[in-house]
Amino acid sequence: MNMAVDLVLTAFLGICLMLSASSRLVHCVRLVAFQGILLGIMPLLMWNWSNAAPGMEIWGAAFVNIIVKGVLLPVLLLRAMRKAGVKRELEPLAGYSWSLLIVSVAGAMALWLSRSLNIPGVPVLAIPAAAVTVFTGLFIIISRRKALTQSLGFLAFENGIALFGAAMHLEYGFFVEMGILLDVLVLVFVMGIAVFQISREFEHIDADRLNLLTDNVEVK
């Protein structure tokens, strides 16, 4: 079992690198969807099968996670993409090679820093993998222009947090998980609608040009 968990966690790290380096939005959505499915099966892999079969809530959480993060949200985002007519993130604020470099360095830092955080019962790779996923999500929000890519970044960010929860066997994890899931769902819904509306009004969905409503009057 431990092998499988490590495999999944390594996959998380790999997905982060790929996310930071790919410009095609369809590809990114698929990567995040895959991340969601992996996240869904994490608790099942972590379960100690020799003692007893997992309870209903573990199965439930896994199922809901896979459906929502693996299927529902990607489909929504793909639809929004098609409606807004966006295919690629053309001019990111940080180039793809730089992005790859930064995320790799962050991964190395996370691995190095997490040496001192050795928690019994938690896989060694879990904490760095989660931290890197969170960082990648935030990095995508910072460095990409399109609102769609930013909501993808937010999804990845949330996946990282959920990975933390799954790896640490948090108490009441199920309820927390469902609450967060609801948040994300609403956000992506809103983003999907907003992206469509914004693209219709402004003929672009570049978030860095949407700063006209700021309080700071000096900015033009």
């Binding site: 604020l93 820093l113 001192s116 955080l117 931290a131 960082f135 935030l138 990095f139 929000i141 910072i142 460095s143 930013q150 978030a207 860095d208 949407l210 700063n211 006209l212 409503l213 700021t214 309080d215 700071n216 900015v219």
Partner: protein
């Protein structure tokens, strides 16, 4: 019963707010509510008397509230929504009546204290359409909230066992000192008083700022060293007194002048209290007795006289439409009763003999002198300082009020053309307050035993100091003065009937062919020599355009004296912080990316810091 008075006032306030669509109804509810609450308060005091301190700080409100209410009836006509005015007027009165009773629980006190600040804030900016009021309202709100913040710190520190006592003490004194107008913290007084409606200024100046002293005495001082308390009050009060009256001298705005005089009087009260505490610390009986009497008398005198003065300023403003002393002049002809009342109150507040102000200051002088005679060197220093400051202040106060009275009421009108007549609603309350002042002069000798009985301090031996005899002397001296002056007036009337040759002519018609108002001495001209004398302290701004050539056409002279604390302390401080906040504000760029970047950097820094340490 006594709490009911505050309850009635609050209920009347809410009632007035509810019927703010109908001004007349709101006015009736407001005045009736104020009167009912005052009656309830007096009945409550008679049936179940509160402690002496509470009573002392309730009295100014009980006296001033009805007077100000009657005055307001005429004052706010045509000045905005009466429902809002009466609502917040009564709510403020309610909080001021309740505060002195809440000396058991500081949390309750703090809540009501904050409410008082907010309610009075609405009253201060009642005339909110005036442009210059925005700055004033901002300063007043800032002062109220800064005081509240300091008091919350004070409250929090009172629970922490290991907390430094000095911080606790400073937070308490500064928090309450903001209301009392202690030096550097007085900034809101000269701004808020001129802007607020006159009856509100009267209440705030006569009764509200005293509550700051109440808070200090009741909440901060218990458990502290008495000599420390005494020195604090004496030093802060001394600076307040001198600074207040010196800055009152060059002010052109009548109510601003009165506001500085309030700072001065609060300083005098603090000095009297400081003498009392020092007397207590060094077991000097006569200093305690005179100090207590001085404090009590001056609190009540100040409430009565300053109330009269502010109400008079309100009448002057309603008649002439300006508060600038240099623009007015000759108001005595149009508003004779107001002018006489104002003059009488000004004489009283300067501490001149026949009025009650003199008796109060006499007590404080006596406290200072008994300190000098005591033989303890600390008391000697305190006594000498207090007596010196008081005498210098007395002289300056006479000058300041001579300027206020002379510039406003005497001579010929300078710039005011159509001056409206005075109304009985406005001068009635002033006559009432002056009558009470007279009553005090003659009743104090008899009420001294009563005062000490209410104070309930058995260790003080007032009889041995001969205070009653002194008060009798002062009262009989005043009586003599009144009898003589009445006789003189009657005599003058008699003479006038006999010799019918005096005719009415323009004021100061001596030798000039055509005297005009432009030849008059203005208030500023009267005070110029004193302004020059104290210029190193006042730093008066002058703009002089002297007459040039043999046939000069144009010349002008301007001087103004902005507040020293504002100019040299608060303005640099606030400019510095404004600069810092401008720099911080640059972070709010409007770019989502930037916000998330800042957040991420902070989170990463926190994680790294947590892991490393």
């Amino acid at each position: 019963m006594i709490f009911m008075s505050a309850g009635i006032a609050a209920a009347a306030g809410i009632l007035s707010l509810l019927c703010c669509r109908r001004g007349g109804l709101a006015g009736v509810a407001g005045v009736a509510g104020t009167f009912l609450s005052v009656i309830a308060g007096i009945v409550g005091i008679c049936t179940s008397p509160p402690s002496g301190v509470s009573l002392l700080f309730m009295l100014p409100t009980l006296i001033l509230a009805p007077a100000a209410a009657v005055h307001s009836v005429a004052y706010i006509k045509g000045h905005g929504n009466p429902g809002i005015y009466w609502g917040f007027f009564n709510l403020t009165v309610a909080t001021m009546l309740a505060l002195p009773l809440l000396k058991e629980d500081f949390l309750e006190f703090l809540i009501i204290w904050e409410l008082m600040g907010v309610f009075s804030f609405v009253l201060v900016m009642f005339n909110y359409k005036a442009e210059e009021l925005k700055r004033v309202a901002w300063i007043y709100l800032l002062a109220c909230e800064a005081g509240g913040l300091l008091l919350m710190l004070f409250y929090a520190l009172s629970f922490k066992t290991g907390a430094p006592r000095e911080l606790f003490y400073i937070a308490g004194v500064a928090g309450f000192g903001l209301k009392a107008g202690f030096p550097l913290l007085h900034l809101w007084l000269p701004e808020a008083h001129p802007a607020a409606p006159a009856p509100v200024s009267a209440i705030m100046s006569g009764a509200m700022i005293n509550l700051g002293l109440f808070g200090i005495v009741v909440f901060v001082f218990p458990g502290m060293d008495a000599s420390l308390c005494g020195w604090t009050l004496l030093i802060l009060g001394g600076i307040s007194t001198l600074g207040g009256i010196l800055f009152a001298l060059p002010q052109d705005n009548l109510k601003r002048l009165l506001a500085y005089s309030s700072i001065e009087n609060i300083g005098i009260i603090s000095m009297a209290l400081g003498c009392t505490f020092l007397g207590g610390a060094f077991k000097n009986n006569s200093m305690i007795v005179f100090g207590i009497l001085g404090t009590i008398l001056h609190i009540i005198n100040h409430a009565l006289l300053k109330g009269t003065l502010f109400l008079g300023a309100g009448q002057v403003y309603c008649s002439s439409g300006t508060l600038s002393i240099d623009r007015m002049g000759g108001m005595m002809k149009k508003t004779p009763v107001t002018g006489s009342c104002f003059t009488a109150a000004a004489v009283g507040l300067s501490g001149l003999p026949p009025f009650n102000g003199f008796i109060g200051e006499l007590m404080i002088y006596l406290a200072a002198f008994s300190g000098i005679c005591s033989g303890v060197w600390q008391l000697r220093i305190a006594g000498i300082a207090a007596a010196l400051i008081l005498s210098l202040t007395g002289a300056c106060a006479v000058a300041a009020f001579a300027k206020a009275v002379g510039g406003t009421f005497l001579g010929e009108p300078r710039h005011v053309d159509d001056c409206k007549k005075e109304s009985v609603w406005m001068y009635g309350p002033m006559l009432f307050l002056l009558f009470l002042s007279l009553l005090i002069v003659f009743s104090v000798p008899f009420t001294v035993p009563c005062i000490f009985k209410v104070l309930n301090v058995s260790t003080i031996d007032y009889a041995s100091t001969g205070v009653q005899k002194i008060l009798f002397c002062a009262a009989s001296f005043s009586a003599l003065f009144y009898v003589l002056s009445t006789l003189l007036l009657l005599f003058r009337r008699f003479v006038r009937v006999r010799g019918n040759e005096n005719a009415a002519g323009p004021t100061w018609d001596c030798g000039y062919a055509k005297p005009s108002a432009r030849m008059e001495y203005t208030g500023s001209a009267l005070i110029q020599c004193l302004g020059d004398l104290f210029n190193s302290f006042l730093q008066i701004r002058r703009k002089i355009e002297p007459p040039q050539g043999l046939f000069p056409k144009k010349a002008s002279f301007q001087w103004e004296s902005p507040d020293g604390a504002e100019r040299f302390f608060w303005a640099p401080v606030f400019t510095f912080f404004a600069g810092v906040s401008d720099k911080v504000h640059k972070f709010q760029s409007g770019y989502l990316h930037m916000y998330v970047l800042i957040m991420t950097i902070v989170i990463i820094a926190m994680v790294v810091w947590a892991i490393i340490s």
